[in-house]
């Protein structure tokens, strides 16, 4: 493996470099877009107390009178040294979003820990028993759950398990003061909803990836040699389908970090999506920027890992041409 580690290293380094560039571009786009929005933090926060005098004083204090690209460069300089700055409300940005980021990561991690093995297993079952009842059943249900908007899934789950059966609380509003068991109990419904939403995608892609490999001549060869079908799927097909499966898993993990805002709103879960919405509403630029960076970094990071996995699982990709 010593000769193959260097190409992986250089690939990872060049991807990281491109990733950093994307982060800068993403933050520039978001910064300028927020600057183009009408209204400012001062008028948003002062509301019906926003006299011209108070708005002017606040904008002066926040340095909002400088041109936006100057403010962007100042922000970029600080961010490069790891300083996310202060929210306009006067608290360090990391204090504002830190606890919410932890909540989001916990929710994503628990969901992923259940969803990834489960969906790959179900995908393999579907591929193994293609065309049989279990395959048709799983394909139909996953297709249905992928077609229903996530908030609707959330409301159905809530109506059945919280309102009718009253098994779980409708509100996942966890607090720092609650103990672990209580927090977990309150997270059941959002986890269940997210499972329904992302399982479908991953199961279908796992099944498709394995089936496309199953069409290869070498699978035919393995069958002709008399290998049992399960062994063909697990030993011959699955290793070559790992690349595409890793990509779809990466996409779904990134979604769990950055895309679950609707679930957060429905279940009143204090995650980072709500922090982003709150800060956009208030034009709290430092917080918006930090959230955007986290979201973009999640996508870039997970995709990078997926690429590394597919390359390691398929040495041909290490030697292009």
């Amino acid at each position: 493996m010593s000769f193959s580690s260097r190409p992986i290293l250089s690939m990872v380094l060049s991807r990281l470099g491109l990733g950093l560039l994307s982060l800068v571009i993403v933050s520039l786009v978001i910064f300028s877009a927020v600057a183009l929005l009408p209204g400012s933090y001062a008028s948003a926060i002062l509301g019906q107390n926003a006299t011209a005098e108070a708005v002017a004083a606040m904008e002066e204090q926040l340095g909002l009178n400088d041109p936006w690209f100057l403010r962007f460069l100042r922000w970029l300089g600080a961010a490069a040294t790891g300083d996310m700055g202060m929210s306009f409300a006067g608290r360090p940005v990391m204090d504002v979003i830190g606890p919410r980021l932890v909540n989001t990561v916990v929710l994503a991690a628990i969901t992923a820990a259940i969803a990834v093995p489960l969906s790959i297993a179900l995908g393999i079952v579907c591929a193994r028993y293609r065309g049989r009842f279990i395959d048709k059943f799983l394909s139909t249900t996953t297709l249905a759950s992928i077609s229903i908007p996530e908030f609707f899934v959330a409301y159905i789950v809530m109506m059945l398990l919280a309102v009718k059966l009253q098994l779980f609380p409708s509100m996942a509003g966890i607090r720092a003061s609650m103990d672990w068991g209580d927090q977990l109990y309150r997270m059941v419904l959002p986890i269940l909803t997210l499972l329904l939403v992302i399982l479908a995608h991953m199961v279908r892609n796992t099944r498709a990836a394995i089936l496309s490999v199953m069409a290869s001549p070498y699978i035919e060869m393995a069958r002709l040699k008399g290998e049992p079908e399960s062994r063909v799927v697990m030993r011959q097909a699955l290793p070559n389908a790992i690349g595409p499966i890793a990509s779809v898993v990466a996409l779904n993990l990134a979604y769990l970090i950055s895309g679950v805002v609707v679930i957060e709103v429905v279940f009143v879960y204090p995650g980072i999506g709500q922090a982003m919405i709150d800060s956009v509403r208030n034009r709290d630029v430092p917080v918006i920027q930090a959230c955007a960076l986290i979201f973009a970094a999640a996508y870039i990071g997970f995709n990078l890992i997926a690429d590394v996995i597919s390359i390691v699982s398929n040495p041909r990709l290490l030697h292009p041409r």
Binding site: P38, I45, N49, A54, Q61, P99, V163, M171, G173, A176
Partner: protein
């Protein structure tokens, strides 16, 4: 619903009677009689809709219902308290006197009050709590109020305010929720960071935009209060999630229940809806200095060409009160009737225009859903009403985002959402005198300005009432405001929560829900 709102309509006495009836019928069968005798104990879980991660303990930055109900109303006290009937009573101040034409105010402070950490409340604490909002570069939400103060000094054990000009309403202005009292720091300033006040509840935990928890202060200075052992203010921005939380018993009270869900809540014997008339009013504002609205005949015709009852029924499903084209709510102490009540009369509108030599008028009305909930629908109905009077109303659908920066105060005929002000003086000084900063109707009336100035320093109640009555009549007859509706605070709550008549100036029983309410099942 309509039945109820009609009961609420005819003035303050009618409103009290209406509320008594509604409390009785809605709370049945459980505990309608027990409402009178508050019980001790239990927890109040109160869900708000506007919490923000930018919330702070710093009173200068309070802007949400969450901080209002939790910090202003439960953690702290002001020098004065805004009573449910809109009057002003002493709180940390016992009494006050005015001299120098209402320009010098001496407040006698209450003795024996302590902060949550045991240190005694002194005049210096009160002084620093005022100075916190004053001075160069202040960004306090109370800036417009403290701007009137030239000096605040401790004299013996009293607090003396010297104003830049006389203001007979000054004690009422001190009810502003930012002006809560915090302990003074050695060397100046206040210590808001530790979350220590004099209020009925002590701060237990504060997670901005998520929840605020408070526990009972056994040493509270008001005898017998508070009733709850603990209070939680929980932020649930989504209206469906908020209703679900109430239905599943996760919270006891929710702010701002959607009018489409009211029937469902009222159909549930464990829940009730409590409506409290507020100062909030929704308007279509004409700029009186811009053609064609500079013509009084056009303003009058437009006021007669809108069917307010139709809009209240169709857009607000009966959950609003018609106005009479002044910005003054009935619950304000100096409210005056301004006859005649404008009613839909397309023929009269057409006649007024004809008399002024106009054959029909075309106007552009700028609206957006963010102007006020239902603004677009109300404008479309207005267009239909006005067409019968030969008036063409072009409904201009403006962008939601940025409405308040690009349309409001800028377009000559626009929709506006006003939260009102605690005194008429302040209300008019904000938006109706010729030099007011938010003069959305471009109103400039010499007599109105003169009366405003005279009323400000008039201490005789009868004379004040007469001055303000004349001002309200001027706005009604000549102003550019079409008051589409006054709206109430709508709280949906568990039938297990007991309460008296609620104040409507601020949300949550004038922010003091935590100390005024109780649990019937405690």
């Amino acid at each position: 619903m309509t039945h109820l709102s009609r009961l609420l309509a005819p003035g303050r006495r009618g409103f009290l009677a209406g509320l008594a009836v509604s409390a009785g019928t809605l709370a049945l069968p459980r505990g309608a009689l027990a409402q009178d005798t508050p019980k001790q104990g239990g927890t109040l879980r109160y869900a708000v809709n506007d919490g923000s991660q930018n919330e702070t303990l710093d009173p200068a930055g309070w802007a949400t219902v969450a901080t209002g109900v939790a910090f202003n109303g439960a953690l702290c006290n002001n020098l004065v308290e805004l009573m449910p009937d809109g009057s002003v009573a002493g709180d940390l101040a016992e009494s006050w006197t005015a001299d120098d034409g209402a320009a010098r105010w001496t407040f006698v402070l209450r003795k024996g009050v302590t902060f949550h950490d045991g240190r005694p409340f002194t005049a210096e604490d009160a002084r620093q709590s005022m100075l916190h909002h004053m001075g160069e570069g202040s960004t306090s939400g109370a800036l417009a109020i403290v701007d009137q103060i030239a000096d605040v000094a401790v004299q013996g054990e009293d607090l003396v305010f010297t104003l830049k000009a006389g203001n007979a309403d000054f004690p009422a202005l001190l009810t502003d929720y930012h002006l809560s009292i915090f302990p003074a720091r050695d060397g100046g300033g206040i210590d808001w960071q530790s979350g220590i006040g004099t209020g009925a509840f002590k701060l237990e935990s504060f997670e901005p935009g998520i929840a605020i928890s408070l526990v009972r202060n056994p040493a509270y200075h008001k005898p017998g209060l508070p009733h709850f052992d603990a209070v939680e203010i929980i932020n649930i921005p989504d209206s469906t999630a908020r209703l679900n939380a109430l239905l599943t018993g996760e919270v006891d009270v929710i702010e701002d229940v959607d009018i489409r869900n009211i029937a469902m809540v009222e159909g549930n014997p464990d829940l009730k809806v409590v409506r409290t008339p507020s100062l909030r009013h929704l308007t279509f504002d004409m700029n009186c200095s811009v053609a064609p609205y500079d013509n009084p005949a056009v303003r009058k015709a437009l006021k007669l060409a809108i069917d307010r009852d139709d809009i209240v029924q169709k857009v607000f499903l009966g959950e609003a009160e018609v106005g009479n084209d002044t910005p003054v709510a009935r619950i304000m102490p100096l409210f005056a009737e301004t006859p005649p009540q404008y009613a839909y009369d397309p023929e009269a509108a057409r006649a007024i225009l004809a008399e002024a030599g106009l054959d029909g008028v075309t106007v552009d009305l700028s609206v957006a859903e963010s102007a006020f909930p239902g603004a677009v629908e109300a404008a479309v109905l207005f267009k239909e009403h006005a067409a019968k009077a030969g008036i063409t109303v072009n409904v201009v659908n403006e962008a939601d985002d940025g409405y308040w920066d690009n349309v409001w105060l800028k377009k000559p005929f626009n929709a506006s959402d006003w939260y009102g002000r605690v005194t008429l003086d302040w209300l008019f000084a904000t938006s109706y005198t010729s030099d007011s900063p938010w003069n959305n109707t471009g109103f400039s009336n010499a007599r109105f300005d003169e009366l405003h100035k005279a009323a400000r320093t008039e201490l005789d109640p009868a004379k004040r009432a007469a001055l303000y009555a004349e001002m309200q009549q001027i706005l009604h007859d000549d102003g550019g405001v079409i008051t589409v509706a006054f709206v109430s605070w709508r709280l949906a709550m568990s039938s297990a929560i007991g309460h008296g008549v609620m104040g409507g100036v601020l949300p949550g029983d004038n922010h003091r829900a935590a100390e005024r309410w109780w649990r019937l099942d405690a």
